[in-house]
């Protein structure tokens, strides 16, 4: 089977998202959660973690931040160092002893907990049971705010055009792009603008970006150009790996457009004067 060649003009290339049912919490909105901040947020975007805490607390939820947390293990896992990833995962698993939901500020780390920890511990029945229990109560922040908290956001900001970038694992493992979209649509003055090849990877891929810098660099250059061309005044993403990649590229190109974590954006847009002064 073959066709000669296509010379068609670029078209919108959105692939329909996979459907997964909305996940709620069995007993309704809980009073207490764990926050897993992720290592990239910890060191480079700590305000995103703090804003996630603020958003959760405003919903009347107490947040516990286990101080023993570090990394979900994904960098080693995706690089083929499975054993090393497993040991780091084991260290994280010790931290969530109580039966509370675990809210994660990144789709790809939440995806690691939910989709890949079961693979890491498939040969250890006792650990596997623990892992499955963790997977069941792991939520990406946007998913948690939307479906478990049923959050109602009241926009306090001026009209703004926003482009949303979703990480691939968030999109394809967690469906978080739909949750983030739904949250943004609650903000009356925020208009979400679409960009070309929205569903396409920004080129980060953890160690991919340093193992294959040329290919990754071409991908992020295209991504930043389409974000810029969308006319958005603000770029928002719920994944700090992508943000580090996209922002780093914006900066390198001297493009005055920096992506912000969804938690920070939502918190800043919805703060009342009273909250801001606290």
């Amino acid at each position: 089977m073959s066709n000669l060649f296509y010379n068609a003009a670029p078209q919108e290339t959105r692939v329909a998202p996979p459907r997964k049912p909305a996940r709620t919490y069995p007993t309704g909105k809980p009073t207490q959660v764990y926050l897993f901040g992720t290592c990239v947020v910890d060191l480079f975007f700590p305000e995103a973690g703090m804003d996630a805490i603020h958003l959760l607390e405003r919903e009347g939820i107490r947040v516990d931040f286990p101080q023993g947390q570090s990394c979900c293990g994904q960098p080693a896992y995706t690089s083929g160092y499975t054993e090393q990833a497993r040991e780091v995962a084991r260290a994280q698993l010790k931290l969530f002893a109580n039966d509370w939901p675990v809210v994660v500020t990144s789709g790809s780390c939440a995806g690691m907990f939910r989709e890949h920890y079961p693979d890491l511990f498939k040969d250890e029945p006792e650990m596997l049971a623990k892992v499955k229990h963790l997977a069941e109560r792991t939520y990406e922040l946007a998913e948690f705010l939307l479906h478990v908290c049923d959050v109602q956001l009241i926009d306090q900001g001026a009209p703004l055009q926003v482009a949303l970038h979703t990480s691939c694992s968030a999109r394809r493992e967690m469906n978080t792009h739909l949750h983030a979209r739904a949250l943004l649509s609650q903000l009356a003055q925020v208009e979400r603008v679409e960009h070309d090849h929205e569903s396409e990877c920004c080129g980060f891929g953890g160690t991919f970006s340093v193992r294959m810098p040329d290919i990754s660099g071409a991908m992020v250059a295209d991504k930043t150009q389409s974000l810029l061309a969308s006319g958005a005044q603000q770029v928002v993403s719920a994944d700090c790996g992508c943000l580090m990649n996209i922002n780093g590229s914006f900066e390198k190109q001297n493009i005055p457009l920096l992506g912000q974590h969804l938690a920070s954006f939502l918190w800043q847009r919805t703060q009342t004067k009273q909250e801001a002064s606290v």
């Binding site: 480079f44 305000e47 260290a91 294959m212």
Partner: protein, 482 residues
């Protein structure tokens, strides 16, 4: 416009990174690939608009393929028995050398001078054209895309559309240069000119070669889909037809081909069905007016049984060669197929090539992916390509001496230094006190963050740690709350 030609350099699978660097600089290639892939992506989705139907069909496709693979040895035997009963000669080849020797022997027995080929990726895998040419037999590609790249002395860039990286202007120039035709960029005229040339060749060829899309065990049927008619011509006009296929293409019965065909043509080109669906089950019978006197099938292993032996890696063999994973791959779209240096490029190429060539010859293939998952999302038979890429990375960084070797070339990227680095990373992230000390220092010494971070800072500014880590901020905040 930079028009550096990728085929002018040493394009081998071992050079993936260097090949990619050259491709990335070729703005014409980048443009051609992007617009072609965008068009294919939208065609696929238009041809499968109902999401439920699409997902059910994919699920069915996966089940059919998985079942066929679970019975692979039995189905192959049944296929062989039925083909022989119907008068088709069956040959087994464990390597491409063996397969080439079989084809050459048939050709020499018939004293063949000219071979005309329909499209077959397995023949590319064998480098059959080169082999036949070396033995004085002309092998001409008759699929339009294959014909174009053969004229330009290139390798296919895509498994369905071998010349997809070229636009009409480039093909017009090529025909002007190689066929002495007046220049035109009108696609229909270009096709008509080439068809005229090829039509003559069909009538004079001694042997026709084709691939196989599905080999049906129960009925002994070789099923071949195509759009141009060259497949039917290659398999019916010359006096001998040789079909070549990988051993994984066998399915149990004709019913099984229905969902697979639908998935194949929709995923590949957005077509409900192709213009031609050929079903071959015997040579010309007494009293029949046309068809070849002899039909042969060459069943090629070439590393497939290595993939078959491992229950996870076996899923690689589910592939029905539609190319949808390539069309949706952001890496493939940017570097084109030739940069991979393998017959099968793109995501499927990255998981099958290490079995065909060994990891030692494809060391960078498993790593050349951001694991974005687009390939797995569109695969019509639900091959978990990202998971298999990750698995191959694991095999690739294992010590070459480590027991339980499942792949040729295990540990081709093994590095004691890198392993030590990850052990350090593991230790750092498993010891909370060490982690907190480390991040504390990184935040306090943020002014000293180097500006040059090697490969990262080629395309990014260096990230600077925040003034305080989330650990510290959260601790202070939560203490204040309580």
């Amino acid at each position: 416009m930079n028009s550096q030609r990728i085929h002018a350099v040493d394009v081998t699978a071992r050079n993936l990174k260097a090949n990619a660097r050259l491709s990335l600089k070729d703005q014409q290639l980048r443009h051609n690939m992007r617009s072609a892939m965008d068009s294919l992506i939208s065609k696929r989705i238009i041809s499968m608009p109902d999401e439920d139907e699409r997902e059910n069909l994919r699920e069915l496709g996966n089940k059919v393929r998985a079942r066929a693979l679970s019975e692979l040895p039995d189905l192959l035997e049944l296929l062989e028995a039925n083909l022989i009963k119907q008068g088709i000669q069956v040959h087994w080849a464990s390597s491409t050398d063996e397969a080439n020797a079989i084809v050459l022997k048939i050709a020499q027995t018939r004293n063949a001078k000219q071979v005309i080929k329909g499209k077959s990726m397995v023949s590319e895998e064998m480098a059959m054209n080169e082999h036949l040419t070396e033995h004085g037999i002309e092998a001409l590609e008759s699929d339009m895309g294959e014909y174009i790249i053969q004229l330009d002395n290139e390798k296919p860039t895509h498994i369905i559309m071998p010349a997809i990286h070229k636009n009409a202007e480039q093909v017009g120039r090529l025909f002007e240069h190689r066929l002495a035709l007046p220049y035109t960029n009108d696609v229909d005229s270009l096709i008509q000119s080439a068809r005229g040339i090829l039509r003559e060749k069909f009538f004079h060829a001694d042997i026709g070669i084709s691939g196989v899309n599905f080999a049906v065990a129960e009925t002994g049927t070789l099923l071949l889909v195509e759009n141009e008619g060259n497949g039917r011509m290659s398999t019916t006009v010359p006096p001998v037809h040789i079909a070549v296929t990988g051993i994984e293409k066998v399915v149990a019965n004709l019913q099984d081909t229905v969902p697979l065909l639908s998935l194949l043509t929709r995923s590949a080109l957005g077509q409900g069905i192709t213009t031609y669906v050929n079903m071959i089950s015997a040579p010309r019978q007494p009293g029949e007016l046309d068809g070849p006197e002899e039909v042969h099938l060459v069943l090629l292993d070439n590393g497939r049984s290595q993939a078959f032996a491992d229950s996870e890696l076996r899923q690689t063999l589910n592939c029905i060669r539609c190319g949808a994973c390539m069309n949706h791959c952001p890496v493939y779209t940017r570097i084109g197929g030739q940069a991979y240096g393998t017959v099968y490029p793109g995501p499927i190429g990255k998981i099958i090539s290490p079995h065909l060539l060994g990891l030692e010859n494809t060391p960078d293939h498993p790593s050349a992916s951001s694991l974005c998952g687009a390939c797995g999302e569109v695969c019509p038979v639900k091959i978990p390509i990202p998971a298999l890429l990750r698995r191959l990375r694991e095999e690739n960084v294992k010590s070459p001496q480590q027991a339980g070797q499942v792949m040729d070339g295990q540990g081709s990227r093994y590095s004691a230094k890198e392993r030590l680095l990850w052990k350090g990373w593991q230790y750092f992230n498993s010891q909370p006190l060490l982690y907190k000390t480390g991040t504390f220092l990184a935040t306090r010494l943020r002014a000293l963050t180097p500006k040059n971070l090697g490969p990262w800072t080629q395309h990014h500014s260096a990230p600077k740690p925040a003034a305080r880590s989330l650990h510290e901020l959260a601790k202070a905040h939560l203490e204040k709350q309580s």
